[in-house]
């Protein structure tokens, strides 16, 4: 497998709510098998960008290319086929509350495979075991903790062995240790499944642990301020805002403004 191959390409993407523009002209390439992080301050449109990428919201302009095929030009059936290759973990899991964990993971399998119930049950058990939820098959989402819900959501997102996994703030509301374990899990899954991973987050620890590549969105200028590996960006970038973000504000914006050319 050629690892330099571009899996997802964001082209001049402009996102908006009605007439209110959130971000304009985002350009980025996501390599196959890499972990790509969308970072930015709260309210900078990270999650909105993700929603635009998976067709939950229509971009105001630009396009997203999956395997060089335009998502905008796809008809409904083609989109369904494309989305079947994607797994999405929403904030707090977004599990279907009227179903048990096992039923949650089983539903995509029942819809898209012709496997026997026995096979489906076996795969469901494995997927839940992968995220450390063995034995919780019969529980309803309301009966388990937030961290468990997020992990169960991950098991569901992986149900169809997706080529791309999207994570919307996976560490939101999790304690540092659970959050770290989730990061390890993301990396392990990427390595074992060979999936391309797109993560929306503002957790610095996560960003430095998992990201191969990243973009930084800035709410004030409504643009993408940087694109690259976060560790490299921290070393070499002269962008005051980005440095402030990556150092929790310790590298103050005023200091950077004095030393850098805008």
């Amino acid at each position: 497998m050629n690892t330099d191959e571009t899996k997802i390409e964001i082209q001049n993407l402009t996102i908006a709510y009605g007439a209110y523009v959130v971000m304009r002209d985002i350009n980025a390439k996501v390599k196959r098998g890499s972990v790509f992080v969308i970072m930015g301050n709260s309210g900078s449109g990270k999650s909105t960008l993700l929603r635009n990428m998976i067709g939950l919201q229509q971009p105001a302009g630009g396009d997203v290319l999956y395997d060089s095929r335009s998502f905008k030009m796809m008809d409904e059936e083609q989109r369904r086929i494309q989305l079947r290759k994607c797994g999405v973990l929403f904030q707090n899991g977004a599990l279907w509350s009227s179903m048990t964990l096992a039923e949650n993971v089983a539903l995509p399998l029942q819809e898209y495979t012709d496997w026997s119930p026995h096979d489906v049950a076996g795969v469901v058990k494995v997927k839940l075991a992968l995220v450390g939820l063995s034995g919780f098959e019969g529980y309803y989402p309301a009966e388990i903790s937030g961290g468990m819900r997020t992990r169960a959501g991950l098991a569901r997102a992986m149900a169809l062995d997706p080529e791309i996994l999207f994570f919307d703030e996976p560490s939101a509301g999790l304690d540092p240790i659970t959050s770290r374990n989730l990061d390890q899990l993301i990396l392990e899954l990427r390595d074992s499944l060979g999936a391309t991973v797109v993560v929306v987050t503002h957790e610095l620890a996560s960003i430095f642990t998992i990201a191969d590549d990243s973009i930084f969105l800035d709410a004030e200028t409504k643009t993408m301020r940087a694109n690259g590996n976060p560790k490299e960006l921290l070393k070499h970038s002269t962008d005051a805002k980005l440095r402030a973000f990556l150092t929790r504000g310790e590298f103050s914006a005023e200091h950077a403004a004095r030393t850098s050319t805008p």
Binding site: R51, I54, G55, L56, R79, R80, I81, L83, R84, C86, V88, F90, Q91, N92, A94, L95, W96, S97, L107, P108, E111, Y112, R156, L160
Partner: protein, 379 residues
């Protein structure tokens, strides 16, 4: 200048251009306005004042109202170009003030309650109304397409869900349907009896109750009960699923929420309503029977024979058919409002209210249309 037993507030001129505010005792804020007026008065009296300072050595206790008061003083000084020295204030107050003044107020974000001109308001309402009506039909069209998919066997449809909904809105609703319709039968018979006995035609109470129930009341009352019970539940379920992003999760798996969530509910209600209606008819006639037999000189046999003679099969089928249609309306409005719901708890509540209002209106309005149609077609 104000003073009371526990707190003291004094404004005094120190040097020709400096004003000192002396605060002591416990600050309760009860004289907030008077205090501010005292400062303004002092500033008016001595226009040469260039600085304002505080002496709070005697201050025992303060709360957020004190901070707010000092902040107002600071603003006042700013507009009059007077320097303010906060070193006489308690350290806690100084820190809170600095925090509050650290980030300047953002002028562009403040919401002004703008008055919308009458014409614009009317126009916007018309546009919104039109959009709403369009959505109503778009949803209908999407549903018809989903039914098409179902008939071709291509829908993401699960009969298990349908049976679950049937159980929730059928057998579990029998109690309330029975109670309401029994009372309706009683009331109809009672009102009829009072009038008909005047003509010595009390036996015709059986006709009145039978025909009214079977053609109109049975299905309309059941429809309204289901609307309040099940339509509202549908709207709340789907609305909450929207808030939790569960609907988004379905969509990203390429599963149509319409086929997966709306269709089972719609089909379940359309299947269950005819049975509920027939049950309602039966119970309502039983209510009429109780009144007639106990209050009027009608024997049970007479009443039953009269009822059987009065009710024609096509009237009964008309009621059942209408019931089926009302079932569709209840599910349709409930699911529509649920799917339209915004992403907050308040929006779900609003969706539920709207579902019941739209549902009941639709039932009554369509019943009117049915009345005219059956008259014209002489059914």
């Amino acid at each position: 200048m104000t003073a009371n037993s526990t707190s003291l507030f004094l404004v005094e001129l120190r040097v020709p251009d400096a004003l000192l505010i002396r605060i002591s005792g416990k600050y309760h804020g009860q004289n907030q306005l008077q205090n501010a007026t005292a400062i303004i008065a002092a500033l008016e009296r001595y226009p040469e004042v260039r600085s304002l300072s505080f002496d709070s050595t005697g201050l025992i206790g303060w709360d957020s109202r004190f901070v707010a008061f000092i902040r107002n003083c600071a603003e006042l000084c700013q507009t009059r170009n007077i320097e303010i020295h906060d070193d006489g204030l308690p350290a806690g107050v100084r820190r809170l003030l600095r925090l509050a003044l650290k980030v300047p107020e953002r002028k562009d974000v403040r919401r002004t309650p703008d008055k919308i001109p009458f014409l614009q308001n009317t126009g916007e309402r018309v546009v919104r109304g039109w959009d709403g009506a369009l959505e109503l039909f778009t949803f209908l069209g999407e549903n018809i397409m989903a039914v098409g998919n179902l008939l071709r066997g291509r829908a993401q449809y699960r009969w298990a869900d349908t049976f679950l909904v049937i159980e929730q809105c059928g057998p579990q609703a029998l109690g309330i349907v029975a109670m309401i319709n029994f009372l309706m039968g009683l009331i109809l018979a009672f009102v009829g009896a009072v009038q008909l006995t005047k003509f010595g035609a009390s036996i015709y109470v059986a006709d009145l109750v039978g025909i009214a129930t079977v053609r109109e009341m049975g299905c309309v009352m059941t429809g309204i009960i289901l609307c309040g019970r099940t339509g509202a539940a549908f709207a709340a379920q789907l609305g909450t699923m929207k808030v939790n992003e569960e609907i988004n999760a379905l969509q990203t798996f390429g599963i149509s929420p319409l086929e997966f969530l709306v269709l089972p509910r719609m089909i379940a209600l359309m299947l269950v309503m005819p049975f509920l209606c027939a049950f309602a008819d039966f119970i309502s006639i039983a209510g009429g029977f109780v009144v007639s037999v106990t209050m009027l000189d009608v024997t049970p046999t007479e009443y039953l024979t009269r009822t059987i003679q009065a009710i024609q099969l096509h009237s009964f089928l008309l009621g059942i058919g209408k019931g089926c249609f009302f079932g569709f309306l209840v599910a349709y409005t409930g699911c529509l409002r649920g799917m339209q719901s915004g992403s907050s708890a308040a929006a779900v509540g609003e969706a539920t209210t709207k579902a019941v209002v739209t549902g009941i209106s639709a039932i009554i309005a369509s019943d009117g249309v049915f009345a005219v149609l059956t008259h014209v077609l002489q059914i």
